[in-house]
C-alpha cells in the first residue's frame, strides 16, 4: 500500500502517541488515588494517636 498522505498519516501517528500518553496518565492517576488513600489513613492515625496522648 503506498504511503498515506501526511494529513491522514498524521492522525494515525497522533492517535498512537495519544494512546501511549493516556496509558501513562491513567496509570499515574491510579497511583495517585492510592497515595491519596494512604494520606487519609495517615491523618486518621495521626488524630487517633493525638487523642490518646491527651
Amino acid at each position: 500500500m503506498p504511503a498515506l498522505p501526511l494529513e491522514t498519516a498524521g492522525t494515525y501517528v497522533a492517535a498512537a502517541y495519544v494512546v501511549f500518553l493516556a496509558l501513562v496518565v491513567i496509570y499515574v492517576a491510579i497511583i495517585g488515588r492510592k497515595v491519596g488513600r494512604l494520606e487519609r489513613e495517615l491523618s486518621e492515625l495521626d488524630e487517633l494517636t493525638r487523642d490518646r496522648e491527651r
Binding site: T8, Y12, V13, A16, F20, K34, E41, L45, T49
Partner: protein
C-alpha cells in the same frame, strides 16, 4: 527506600523523552516506503522491547523471591509484570493502529511481534486473576512467582515459535529496513528505547514506593492496635474494612 530514587529517575525520563521526541519528529528521516506512518515505529517497538524485558525481569525477581523467601522480591516482580501488561496493551493498540495505517487492516497475522504479543498478553492477563483467587498471602506470592518464571520462559519460546511460523508465510515486518537501518534512524530508535526503559523504571519505582508505604502503614497501624489493647481495651483504631478485592498482594 524507593522515594529517593524517584526524583532523579523522573528527571532522567523527562529529559530522555524530550530528546527522543525531538529526534523522532525533527531529526529522523522520513521513511521511503511508509512515509510519516513509520514514526509509530519509535513508539511501538521500544514499548514492545521494554515490556518483554519487564516480563523477563518479573521472572527473575520471582526466582529471587522463591530463593530468598523475602516478599519484597514478590512485590517487585508483581509490579514489573503489572507494568509490562499495561505496556503490552499499548503494544497491541499501537501495533493495530500501525497495521491499519500501513496495510488497511486493524489486525494482521503475519507480523510476528504483534502476534507473539497477543499470545503473551493473553497468558499474563491471567496473572492477576490467579493472584486474587488465592487468599493466603504466602501461597499467593509463591504461586505467582511460579507463574512468573514459567511465563518468562514461555515468552521466549513463544517468540521463537511464532517467528518460525512466520518465516513460512512471507511476513511483513513493521520495520522495512529491519537489520540495516540508516544511522540517524538507529540513533533515534536507541534514544526512544532508552526513554521508554527509563519511563518503566520510574513508574516501577513509583508504584513500589506507594505499595511499600501502604505496607508499612499497615504495620504501624497493627502495632498501634496492639498497644491500644494493652492500655484501653475497646478502643478501636480501625474502621471495619470494606469488602473489596485486595488491590495488591500483601
Amino acid at each position: 527506600m524507593y522515594g529517593r530514587a524517584l526524583a532523579p529517575l523522573a528527571l532522567a525520563t523527562a529529559a530522555a523523552s524530550a530528546v527522543a521526541f525531538g529526534l523522532i519528529f525533527f531529526y529522523a528521516p522520513l521513511d521511503a516506503d511508509q512515509g510519516f506512518i513509520q514514526k509509530i515505529f519509535y513508539l511501538h517497538v521500544p514499548m514492545a522491547i521494554v515490556a518483554l524485558l519487564g516480563f523477563l525481569a518479573g521472572g527473575v525477581m520471582a526466582a529471587m523471591h522463591l530463593r530468598t523467601r523475602d516478599r519484597v522480591w514478590d512485590m517487585r516482580s508483581y509490579v514489573a509484570i503489572h507494568l509490562s501488561i499495561i505496556l503490552g496493551l499499548g503494544v497491541l493498540v499501537t501495533g493495530s493502529i500501525w497495521a491499519k495505517a500501513s496495510w488497511g487492516h486493524w489486525w494482521v497475522w503475519d507480523e510476528p511481534m504483534l502476534v507473539s504479543f497477543l499470545i503473551v498478553f493473553l497468558l499474563y492477563a491471567v496473572y492477576q486473576p490467579l493472584r486474587f483467587s488465592i487468599d493466603d498471602p504466602g501461597r499467593q506470592a509463591r504461586y505467582a512467582s511460579v507463574f512468573a518464571i514459567a511465563g518468562a520462559a514461555f515468552t521466549v519460546l513463544n517468540f521463537i515459535a511464532v517467528r518460525m511460523a512466520a518465516a513460512y508465510t512471507h511476513p511483513r515486518v513493521f520495520s522495512q529496513t529491519g537489520g540495516n537501518m540508516p544511522a540517524d534512524m538507529f540513533i533515534t530508535f536507541l534514544v526512544s528505547l532508552g526513554a521508554m526503559a527509563l519511563l518503566f523504571a520510574t513508574l516501577w519505582t513509583l508504584e513500589l514506593a506507594s505499595k511499600n508505604a501502604a505496607e508499612r502503614l499497615r504495620r504501624v497501624r497493627r502495632r498501634l492496635e496492639r498497644e491500644a489493647e494493652h492500655t484501653e481495651p475497646g478502643e478501636r483504631l480501625t474502621r471495619p474494612a470494606p469488602i473489596r478485592p485486595a488491590p495488591a498482594p500483601r
